[in-house]
């Protein structure tokens, strides 16, 4: 198992958000999480990547490192990233003054350092990034602009996928990676995710729409509502939600 979330209860600013959430993810799987606005999907993603604002009151999260399940809460946010957890933000953050290339380079080498792999020289690294950017239809000058600064909604999402491909994590938690994308951009982003996924990593897609899941086929679909996974199933669940909404839950 790659990730095991057990009966997770968490709150923020005194408000209970997750109310006993359980979820198991194995390498090689694609999971989709759907659910009404405000049900706690982004909260789950932030707790997994170590956001300090949330207080976990009960339950645990285990994550596989070197074939052993480890308590995720013992790792700092940056250590989780270095161990292969990647969060694609619902609202990617603008970081003025830090260029895309600079961030990618720092991140990549921080991860390599932890993994005991030789860091890459800047020149060589630039080439790798340029090639991935081209694959995603990201123009070269975007690499030298401030991270997400002035990017359109869709460009920001594409940029998250660029980071995904460069950092090559083991668990990609992509929070509404499809929101704000035009049809072509959705195809590009899906192409990126499909290129990324293999039998050694796992993808979690948080989404509101079937469209993304037509491009990236999930093995499991979960409905998160009121802080819990209420139902799990396959694509048929997506069709049902598409038709009936969340009222039947």
């Amino acid at each position: 198992m790659l990730l095991n979330v057990k009966n997770l209860k968490a709150q923020i600013d005194g408000k209970q958000i997750l109310k006993g959430l359980s979820l198991q993810i194995n390498a090689g799987e694609v999971h989709a999480i759907m659910g009404p606005n405000g049900s706690g999907k982004s909260s789950l993603s932030k707790i997994i990547s170590g956001h300090a604002g949330y207080e976990v009151t009960e339950g645990e999260i285990e994550y596989e490192i070197n074939f052993k399940m480890k308590n995720l809460f013992e790792l700092e946010p940056h250590e989780r990233a270095q161990e292969g957890i990647f969060l694609g933000f619902q609202y990617p953050v603008e970081v003025p003054g830090v260029t895309n290339m600079m961030l990618l380079f720092e991140s990549y080498n921080a991860i390599m350092l932890r993994q005991g792999v030789e860091p890459m020289a800047q020149d060589e690294f630039n080439k790798v990034v340029q090639q991935k950017a081209e694959f995603l239809g990201i123009k070269e000058d975007y690499l030298y602009r401030g991270v997400n600064v002035g990017f359109s909604g869709g460009e920001k999402k594409r940029n998250e996928i660029l980071q995904l491909l460069v950092l090559n994590p083991r668990l990609a938690f992509l929070d509404e990676i499809d929101s704000g994308l035009d049809i072509d951009a959705l195809k590009v982003v899906s192409k990126g995710v499909n290129f990324f996924k293999n039998k050694n990593n796992a993808v979690v897609l948080v989404t509101h729409y079937q469209r993304l899941l037509d491009y990236i086929k999930p093995d499991f679909v979960h409905v998160l509502s009121d802080g819990q996974i209420k139902v799990s199933g396959g694509m048929e669940l997506v069709h049902k939600l598409e038709k009936q909404g969340y009222d039947w839950l």
Partner: protein, 362 residues
Amino acid sequence: MNLNFSNLVPNQQESFKYTPTLIKQVIEKGHFTPLGQQTDEYFKYQHFMNSLVEQTSFKDFYTPEQFWMAFENQDLPKGFQASWVLKDSVFCKDKLKRAFCWPESLKNFLLGNCDKILKINVQSGFVGDLSLLMPLIGSGQGFILELEPGAKLSLKLEYAQFGKELFGSSLWVNLAPDSELNFLETVRGDVFSARGLWVDLEQGARFFHEIKAQGPKYFRNQLGVMLLGQNAQAHLKGAFDQQATSFCENETWIGHQVPRAYSNQEYRALLKDEAQFVFKGHVKIEPDAVESQTHQLAKALFLSPHVTANLKPYLDIECDDVIATHGAAISQLQEQELFYLQSRGLNEQKAKALLESAFLEF
């Protein structure tokens, strides 16, 4: 401590462009003798000059004195001229009037104990650069810089503080039509100084000024810009990286006297520990200065609860047809930005350092 820089006695036979080795040689051979005596002060001064070699980031540079000597030895790069102007000459008094915003008491401080000031002329057609090192060894030092029409100069200036006293210096710049000055001033941590810089721009002249302050003990940037000719442009910026009890005051006066001139200023201070930063911007647009454009922005980033910033951008517009913006902002490191960087594998320290240096790079 009252060393008089203008009394240093040069050895006429040497080439006086400062290079690290040359400085050492000059000092070892004792070519400079303040007041002609080898006093304790002199040895301190020797030691100071020695340390300049290690301190400065320049490869080749001149102090104002050295610039003069190079001129006398006909050793200056082509296109430069040098002369001395007496402080009580009509020319200098006239310049001093330009320092319209200095209180009388400060004007005397600027005159200090030097009786003359170096004047550097850059001739038409010149395109090139110059690095100046200003040893702060007394008040009233500085220089006058005149760019002739069309000349283009990149000037780098660094200060080196001798002793612990507060010293004032003054720089007067005149930019003739269509000349361009790119001016980078580096102010290191040991500096304890008030510096006045007065710049007159004639038609189509361009002035780019940048201050990089690396945590000076005290630095006061008094910068007066007079836009005297149409289409003159002044681009001013400053990055103050301050920690401990560093105290910086940044005060600008910009006068738009004629139509269609442009001024832009952005100053940022990164404040740690108990650092203090003051920004006062005065922009005055005279009644005739139609189609002027002016922007001013001051930002402070607070990294400790004990820092202070006082940001006062001020506009005085007596003309309708202008574009003018001004703003001030105090912020802290953004949690979201920090978390975003951490979620990409950077530890907190690294993420903070990256955001801090990003704030000062603009």
